[in-house]
Subunit: 136 residues, 4 copies
């Protein structure tokens, strides 16, 4: 399963080079992850209420073409790997008007216990949902 | 007592008008408040560990002159009012190089209980420190 | 005419009080202004290509109720005043689920010449569109 | 030459996990780059006035330990590679109190012409300064 969610570039997302500031794409990968989880039937809030956090351990991005103010972007998120302890995603951010790729990226997130702060194994009920999302 | 703390404008603080995006000054007022509390001997962390939050209820700002990338700014914070339930501050953000005023502003913050979410009265130990800060 | 545009609260919009950081609402007022201009048939890009900027001179906000991660918000923008040199707006940010008001606000923006940096008078073609937006 | 610059974590840099939101570190790598250039005698403003931009093409980061509100961080930037068309940097972000590594990272930036938007070769006057910075 691949999630696709739209985001319009705000004026405050630009910088003095008159393009989107690159760090915003790293934020927008998060919009993509959250949307992917939502499609799997999971919200970060549910996870947190059950005592789990989903911190990121690694991220990388290639900035291929600049985004500009008012562009409508598509944030495309594809699951890349899943275990009970971690999950990886690939991202593409496209300009909706012509499907030009602006940014590609990858992240790895782990499941941790809010209480201990350590990596933990996700319970079956969440794992099954993510597994279906990965396989669909 | 007036607190003064420096902040250098980052590239990511600018927007496509090639000046500081105005919402950043609202963030920087917070740097000023935190610094003022620190001068009074109080950290937000201490407050939070004791079960208090210090949310903002009102803010206003006048944008007088634009800040630019790499400008060193001075965030000047003056206490304007204090009760056990709330505190107000006045701000001036100046360009350090020539003390030009870029922004003026005002905020009101209240003391709330983390547990109930409601406004609460600050215990004496914090109130006394803030009162000294206001009177000095 | 009143513009209404939706914005979903991102995880990166929250702070350690587990609510939306207040400075984000000031950014979101901008989303509201841009949307209002769009409904009037004007984009900031058009204005900038014609040599005009639309900087903010004053903003104020009252934070009434906290927004939380994943809330869908409605940014409601109402024109409050218009001359050829400036325009003012009122804002309300509501939680879409129950139309609870989270934040109210007001801003004043001026039309300036990119070349001189000074306040200028907006040409008729833009002014007429905004006037219709104000009166509708 | 290695540049080291301090940054104190602001409340607005945190998220609802009560730690620094990860995308901020990508912003802070930029503070490191700007500081490194400054030590070499180059400001982004000079580059831009001469018609050059310095956009980022690749970034990666590993998030090793969480940063928290009010932590003083050290952003350490080491040049990793330099040609007339591009420059790469390695980063470490440390907690100043105990020199714990919070984040490591890498970026590649290219020199482009503002006019054409294409990659260009940096003139000797800038290249020499960066080369000295790399070799020192």
């Amino acid at each position: 399963m691949v999630s696709r969610v739209e985001h319009r570039v705000n004026f405050y997302d630009t910088d003095a080079m008159r393009v989107v500031h690159h760090a915003n794409y790293i934020r927008w990968f998060e919009i993509g992850r959250v949307e992917f989880l939502r499609l799997c039937g999971i919200t970060l809030d549910d996870l947190m209420e059950d005592g789990y956090l989903f911190p990121i351990t690694d991220v990388s991005a290639k900035f291929v073409n600049p985004g500009r103010f008012d562009d409508v972007l598509i944030i495309e998120t594809t699951p890349a790997a899943l275990t009970k302890a971690k999950m990886a995603f690939d991202y593409r951010i496209l300009r909706a008007a012509d499907e030009t790729v602006l940014v590609t990226g990858h992240s790895q997130n782990v499941f941790t216990s809010q209480e201990t702060g350590h990596i933990t194994r996700l319970p079956e009920k969440y794992y099954e949902k993510l597994k279906r999302g990965l396989e669909d």
